[in-house]
Amino acid sequence: MPDLAFASASSAAVSAAIWATVASLSASLLLLLYTLELRFRRRQGERHRARVMERWRSIIAAAVTGAEGGALPTAASHPLPRAERAEFLKLWNLTRNMVEGAAAERLIELAGRLGVPEAARGDARQKRSAARLVGIRTLGHLRDLPSFALVQAAIDDDNPLISITAAEALIEIDPARAVDALIPRVASRRDWPRTHVFRILQKAGSTLVGEPLYRAIRTAADTDAAHLLQFAELAEFDVRDAICAEILASREEPELIAAALKAASGYSQMPRLDELVQHPAWYIRMQAARFIGRMGRAEDVGRLEKLLADSEWWVRYRAARALVRLPRLDRAEIERIRERQQDPYARDILGQAIVEAGSRQ
C-alpha cells in the first residue's frame, strides 16, 4: 500500500481533522475561562442578594410590627431599584402570605409607597412565566382592584400554575366578582388540582360560593356538572341539598348521579336509594354504599350486606367499610355478619375492613 503523507491525496481530510482539533481545543479553553467567570459572577451575585435581603428584611419587619411609630419609608427615602425588585418581592410575598389584619394593611401600604403595584402590573404582563407568576401573586396580595381585568385574563392561561395563581389572586382582590368568574372555569379547567381549587373557593366563603355554584351546575353539561359537584360541600347545607335532590330526581347520567350521591348529606334527597344500590354502573353502587355509611343507620345493614357480594371490588370495599363504621354494631356483631356470608369475596373484604378499623383505633 502506498505511504500517504500530509501532502498526499488525503491531506484535505487531515487538514479538516487538524482544524477540528484546534477548534475544539480553543473552545475548551474558552469554556474553561467562561466557567471561572461564571463562578466569580455567582459569588458576586450571592453577596449582592445577601445585602439586598438584609436591607429590605428590616424595613419589611418594621412595617409588619408597626415599629418606628408606624412611619413607612417612601420611594424617595428608600428607592427600590429594578435590580433589587425580585429579591424584595420574594421577601414581601412570603411575609404577606403569613400576615393578615393591620400588619397586612401596612405591608400593602409599604408596597404602594415603593411603587410595587405598577411594577407588579408590568410583571403580570410579561411573557416569562416566572415573572408573571410573581406579578400576579403580588397583585393578589396587594388586593389591587384596578388589576382585576388583567388578572382575570390570566385565569385562561394554558399554564395551570399561572391560571390557578391568577384564580387565587382574583379571590383576594374581589371575592364576589371572582367567584362569578371562576366557577364556570372550574368546570372546564380539569388541570387545576382539586384540593387547591377547594381551598381557593373556601377563602371566598360559602355564602358567596353557593348560589353561583348552584346556577353553574343547573346549566352545565352532565360531565361538567359532575365535576362541579365535587365542590358542593362548599355551599351552605340548604343549597347543597337542593342541588343534590334536583339531580337525583331528574337526571340520568351515571357520573352525575354518582357525583350527587357523593355530595348528598341527607335521606330527604334519596328517593331512589333501593334503585341506586342495584344500578348497573358500579361506581353508583359504590357511592350508594358510601352514602349509607355516612348516614350510619342500623336499618341499612341488609342493603350493605347485599353490596358485600358485589362483583366490583370497590363496591365491596366501600360496603364493608360502611358496615364496620355503623355506630350501633359492635365487633362481635360484625364478625357474625362476616361468618354468615356465603360469598368468599364478601368474607374477605369484610375481614380487611375489620383489620383496617382495628388499626385505626
Binding site: P2, D3, S28, R42, A86, I164, H196, S359
Partner: protein, 468 residues
Amino acid sequence: MSATVVQVVEWVFLAYFVGINLAYLGQNLVAVRTIRRYVRGAAIDDDDPAYSSVHLPISLVVPAYNESTSIVTSIKALLQLEYPDFEVVVVNDGSKDDTLEKLIRAFELYPYPEAYRNQVPCKPVKATYRSARYRNLRVVDKVNGGCKADASNAGINICRYPLVTVVDADGILQRDSLKRAVRPFLDRADTVAAGGAIRIANGCRLRDGFLEEVGLPRNFLALVQVIEYLRAFLFGRMGWEPLGAVMIVSGAFGVFRRTTLIEVGGYDPNAVGEDMELVTRIHRKMRQQRRPYHIGFIPDPVCWTDAPESLKDLASQRTRWHHGLGQALMLNKWLIFNPRGGTVSWLAIPFYLIFELLGPVLETIGAIFFVTAALFGAISWPEAGIFLLMSLSLGMLLSISAIMLEEFSFPMYRKPRELAKLYGAALLENFGYRQLTVWWRLKGFFRWILRRRHKWETITRSASVGSG
C-alpha cells in the same frame, strides 16, 4: 485503489466524529437555553407559595432485592422527605436475605389484607404489610420476579396516588426532590412523566440517609462517572427536553402519571433497560394514539446514586445499559422514521441509533482501521495521530461544556480544588477510560444481538458512602 479506500474511510470517520460532536454540541446549545430559562424561573419560584401550596399526591415505589444492609436507613430517609402528601410502598422482590425481617422490626409492620387490582402484570404477591409507626408506609412481599421491572409493577398496582415515582432502594434523594420533580406536572397539564438530574454520591458525606456534604470521589472510575453523569443529564436530557424528545427518565428517580403507566402496561419485565424502554413505549403509544403529551426534565439534582468503583461492576453496568438501549429501540421500532413520530422519530431515535447504539461499533472499526493502516504504511503515524487527537479533543470539549453547564445551573462542587479535579478527570478520561467504555458498550451491543437476558444486579457499594 488502496489510497481511495483510505481516503473514503478517513472522510467517513471524520464525518462521523464531526457529526456526533455537532449533535452533542447542538444539544448543548439547546440545553444552555433551556437551563438558563429554568434557572431564572427557579430563582424566583423557589420560595413562592404557589409551588409549595399546590401539590399532587405522590406514591414512592421502592423495589428492593437483597437490600438488607441499607433498606432501613433508606426508607427512614424517604419518610422524612419534605412533601405534604406522599406514601412509600416498598416491594420486597423475594429477597434471599433478611430485608423483609429488618423492615418488619424497624417499622413495626403487621400483616394487612390489602385487596387491590392487578392492572399491570407482575408475579404473585405473598403478603402486604402496613406500618404501625408510619401511616404512609406499606410493604409488599412478593414472589421473586427476577427483575426490578416486575417489582415496580407490583408497587404500581398497589399504590394509591395519581403520581408514581419508582426510586432505587439505595438512591439518596434530596429532601425537596418531590417538590421539585412535581413541577413539570404543575407547569403543563399534559405532562405524563418527568425526570431530574442524578448525581454521583461517592465521595459525599451522608447522615441518616441524606446528603450532608457534597464531595468528589477519590476513586478515579467514580470521578470520571461524575463527569459522565453531568454530560448525560445536563445536556443529554436537557437538550432533548424542549424538543419533546426526552427518551430516558432514569430508573433511579422518575415521576410518572399512574394512569399513563397503567395504560402502557407498566414496566416490561423482559426489558434489560426497563427505564428507557418504558419511556420509549410511552412515546410510541402516545404518538400512535395521536394524543398530546409531554415528558419533562428538570436539571435540579434530585437523586444521588452510588457509582461502581471497580472495573468489574462498571463493565457489567455499561454492558447492561447498552444491551438495554438496543432492546428498547427495537421493541419500539415503530418510532424509527415514522411520519407520525415527530421529533422523536426524526431526531432522537436516529441519534440514539446511529451515535449511541452503533457508536461503539463504528469507533472500534475506525480504531482498528487506523492502526492497521498505519502498521501497513497506508497512512503515516502522524496522520493517524491527528485523527486520534481530534477524537480526544472533541470528547474533552464535551466534558468541559458539561462542567460549564453544572456551574451554570446548580453548582454542587463549590471548592476551587473540586473544579480543578473535574477538569483533570475530563482530560484523563480520554486515556484508557473512554476506550474501555467503548469495549463494554460493544459487548453490550453483541449481547443485544445475541438476545442474552439480564437479571437483578448488585453493585459493590463504595466504601466512601455510608450512613453517618
